[in-house]
């Protein structure tokens, strides 16, 4: 299926949210961390996974102060991720290395996000009650690599729940509203208040609609060969060649005269009550942000 405007809106919102939290909340931490050899059966033969203690490294090079890494250290030697021998997997916070040696002494400089962001289709109850996510604390460093693929907390889960087209103008123009729920799972009240405050202030902001994103192209691609710049990642959550700069990408869209915006009509924050926390026996702090996003266009011409 070719991507349509709903795909663009979902991915654009996710990219914008990530950029917004990092830029305005400075929600990242930078340091030099050891990489540990971890099991990953999904990797092709001949590759090993060396994971850091944190998931979701910052990949947006427009965030000033954050280190967007493109190399790792073996001792004091720098190894760049510019070929198939070393692939940096930003989502899982690791390096995929073409080697059989499980005892490499590797370190990396990088910034990791204070809140991981995951799109989800699960209901709030399923996320909060059923799934006991592994906690990936932002306050202490574990002495092992974090397992790839599973979601870890602190995190924001984004659920695109509902859309509704309301007639807006003659000629078939609709105001299409998207209702998005963000479920925040934080380590403590301070983190939750911080992110609630940040996301609560999103109301009446606009975010750019980045078009031309086609996830299928990425999935069909071979390891580390995708170089499209619409979406930050290749097939192994490796960053696109040349890096990914959110502001530059938006500017490119503007130069191509394709730039369109979506408006965040409302963003309402709430926290799970203490009583419910107690009844659910939650060790995490849970909050919700309900977004209403509006995009005005001609749906019957577009699709």
């Amino acid at each position: 299926m070719i991507p349509n405007i709903d795909h663009f809106i979902k991915l654009s919102f996710q990219l914008w949210l990530d950029h917004y939290i990092l830029k305005y909340g400075q929600a990242y931490t930078t340091g030099n961390y050891k990489l540990y050899c971890t099991e990953d059966e999904r990797l092709p033969a001949g590759y090993l996974s060396y994971s850091s203690p944190f998931k979701q490294w910052v990949w947006d090079s427009s965030i000033s102060g954050a280190v967007v890494n493109s190399y790792i250290y073996s001792g004091s030697e720098k190894i760049y991720s510019d070929d198939d021998n070393v692939i940096l997997d930003y989502d899982n916070g690791r390096a995929i290395i073409k080697t059989d040696n499980q005892n490499l002494d590797l370190t990396a400089d990088f910034s990791y996000k204070d809140f991981n962001i995951y799109p989800t289709n699960q209901t709030e109850e399923d996320l909060v009650v059923q799934n006991k996510f592994q906690e990936n604390s932002r306050y202490y460093i574990q002495e092992s690599g974090i397992k790839p693929y599973d979601c870890v907390t602190p995190a924001i889960f984004i659920n695109f729940e509902e859309r509704e087209g309301v007639p807006f103008a003659l000629g078939g123009m609709d105001d299409v509203k998207y209702y998005i729920k963000a479920i925040i799972v934080a380590e403590n009240d301070y983190q939750l208040d911080g992110i609630n405050g940040l996301l609560g202030n999103c109301a009446q902001r606009i975010f750019p609609l980045i078009t031309g994103i086609n996830r299928e192209d990425i999935w069909n691609d071979s390891i580390n060969s995708y170089s499209g710049a619409s979406y930050p990642f290749g097939s192994n959550w490796n960053i696109v060649s040349g890096g990914y700069d959110y502001n530059f990408r938006v500017l490119k869209e503007l130069n191509d005269k394709k730039l369109d915006y979506c408006l965040i009509n409302k963003s309402k924050c709430s926290k799970v009550s203490a009583k419910l926390r107690e009844n659910l026996d939650l060790s995490t702090y849970v909050g919700f942000v309900d977004f209403e996003i509006s995009n005005i266009y001609f749906p019957r011409i577009y699709s």
Binding site: T123, E124, E125, D126, V128, V129, Q130, K132, E161, E162, Y179, K268, C269, S270, K271, V272, S273, K275, L276, E278, N279, L280, D281, F288, D290
Partner: protein
């Protein structure tokens, strides 16, 4: 609060006030007061009907029935327990109380040759949603949830025994019970109220 514009034709007063009086400032004041009084009566009737509609809506009826009783909206338990109200809470009573204090106020706008224009403040859905907090997350509204969907957290709020030890296991076993289907509620009642008020004024009922 939303403001709805209404107008009253001047000819309604022409039989009782001469054209000269009507065009004088005293005449305008008389006509305005009479029109305002007339509108107030119509608003009163419509608002009473609106409050009755809210109170007798199937959703309200089910919530009013308290934690015990069957449901037409959730597959297990009923709406009261599904949302998670405390057993002694009266959410519909509170809602009606809030709405009663918001009875539409009439404001004179202007007069033309043929009509006198007024605006009245009517409660909009945002006003209601802000005043109907969800028991397990105060920033959310249960009234909005009725229309947009509600998470099943309320189910776990008043469970005795769900707590520290083994609470997680009990809870896991109960998940996915009591699914709720979204239903039009206050938004549509407010719309019908505004529509009936406009019709009543227009048709001089």
């Amino acid at each position: 609060m939303n403001r709805v514009k209404l107008n009253v034709p001047i000819k309604e007063f022409q039989r009782r006030l001469s054209e000269k009086t009507l065009n004088s400032s005293r005449g305008l004041s008389i006509a305005r007061d009479r029109a305002s009084l007339m509108l107030e009566k119509k608003v009163d009737i419509c608002y009473r009907d609106f409050l009755d509609d809210v109170e007798s809506h199937p959703i309200s009826e089910e919530i009013k029935s308290g934690p015990i009783g069957s449901s037409n909206f959730v597959s297990e338990g009923n709406l009261f327990s599904f949302i998670g109200f405390e057993s002694d809470e009266e959410p519909i009573g509170k809602l009606i109380d809030t709405l009663e204090h918001q009875k539409s106020k009439i404001k004179y706008l202007r007069k033309s040759k043929e009509k006198i224009f007024f605006s009245i403040a009517v409660p909009d859905k945002e006003f209601v949603f802000e005043r109907t907090p969800m028991p397990w997350a105060k920033g959310r509204s249960w009234a909005e949830g009725i229309e947009r969907g509600i998470s099943g957290f309320g189910h776990y709020l008043n469970k005795s025994g769900a707590g520290r030890s083994e609470g997680g296991i009990q809870i896991k076993a109960k998940i996915n019970k009591g699914k709720f289907s979204n239903t039009p509620y206050l938004s549509s009642l407010i719309k019908s109220y505004v529509k009936s008020l406009k019709e009543r004024v227009k048709n001089r009922i």
